[in-house]
Symmetry: C2
Subunit: 198 residues, 2 copies
DNA sequence: CCTCAGGTATACTGATCGGTAAACCTTCCT
DNA sequence: AGGAAGGTTTACCGATCAGTATACCTGAGG
């Protein structure tokens, strides 16, 4: 019986408040830097309750990442609902979603940050973070394939790098946000992969 | 008298071993997760000596990042020494440098990882990490300007995102490394910014 | 010869870490 | 009526955290 993430959608009221506090604190201050005592205090819950619901900090961390992953996937799925988009335009939709996402998440990619703090592949949170990248890579691949673009695997890999890069770059480079600028770059790459090209 | 990074090039023998051990441990396991006791033990030095040389863990962290920054800049400068390169080719040279760099550094960008763990802008290591990005951005900008490319600021921003993204993406996506794939993407973006284009 | 910088050794501080013990209080379901 | 689930309170555990105290050793330069 290994410790894995809980289902973030079926939680006791107390556990919800714990998860909400943990999400905020982990993202803002880092996972290792935030102790369980602080989380319990911040969520107005006893440490005992925290451990009754989650069993360990590891599991709480994994659940935090899983909940965040679900929110992000829903956000992208929502953006893909936009009507009247050509298959080619749909490839860059995740970048539009990213633009809104980054407004409320100025501290970079929570999954990259988590991987930085959890090098151990055995940690239940490690896999959740790795899966998030894999999912996005496959999404890009299928969007590129649907659009009939050349070398969809390579293109998807490049788009994934642009995506992660936009989240990682903190420099107030230009007046434009990284998400915007990177969206343009993605469009250029997509155009270069159009089958009509030489 | 604030605590800032030491000069990594003027260290006592003991301090050198401390810094070497700290560099390895911080990068492999994360900054917060590595304690000063472990560093002292790993470097075969007394904790007392560690504190006599560095004064605090904060300073040691900042020095670690500064030393790494210097190595990376030297590595890129070295790659730029390559003779017989056109100004246009020189723009993508950092990606060639990145390819070699990533062989020995599979745990992503040490500066992004550090920023994930050190959200406090007052931490002396925070600025060092932020400066690294700024330097690379300015390098790309000047290379793009020298090549006479259009909108060099935007292009540099995009190239920086590609660079950071390649370091962040961990997925064994294709048979090609992220650095290679991203190098191709950079070439496409550079070609699209050529002044001869419409 | 003497100083002094660099380093060693052991021991310690108060705080915080993740996690547990034991006992009790509600509320809801049967 | 009764029990289980969710939560509470206070207290505790051994380990580790960053950092300090004190005293001693060694080699090189004046």
């Amino acid at each position: 019986m290994k410790a894995t993430a809980l289902d973030p959608d079926t939680l006791t009221p107390g556990a919800r408040r714990v998860l909400d506090s943990a999400s905020e604190l982990f993202y803002e201050r880092g996972i290792t830097a935030v102790g369980v005592d602080l989380i319990a205090q911040h969520s107005g819950v006893t440490k005992r309750t925290l451990y009754n619901r989650f069993g360990s900090k590891e599991t709480l961390v994994a659940t935090y990442l899983l909940a965040r992953d679900r929110r992000w996937r829903a956000h992208v799925a929502d953006a893909l609902e936009t009507p009247d988009l050509s298959p080619g335009e749909r490839v860059t939709v995740p970048f539009r979603a990213l633009r809104e996402w980054m407004r409320g998440n100025p501290r970079g990619c929570a999954f990259i940050n988590a991987l930085a703090e959890l090098p151990d592949p055995e940690h239940p949170g490690h896999q959740v973070a790795a899966d998030q990248q894999q999912w996005l890579l496959e999404l890009f691949t299928s969007l590129a394939t649907d659009a009939g673009l050349r070398t969809p695997d390579d293109l998807a890999h490049q788009l994934l790098c642009l995506y992660e890069g936009a989240l990682a770059v903190q420099v107030p480079a230009t007046t434009r946000s990284s998400a915007e600028t990177v969206g343009d770059a993605a469009a250029v790459l997509v155009r270069a992969a159009a089958p009509s090209n030489p």
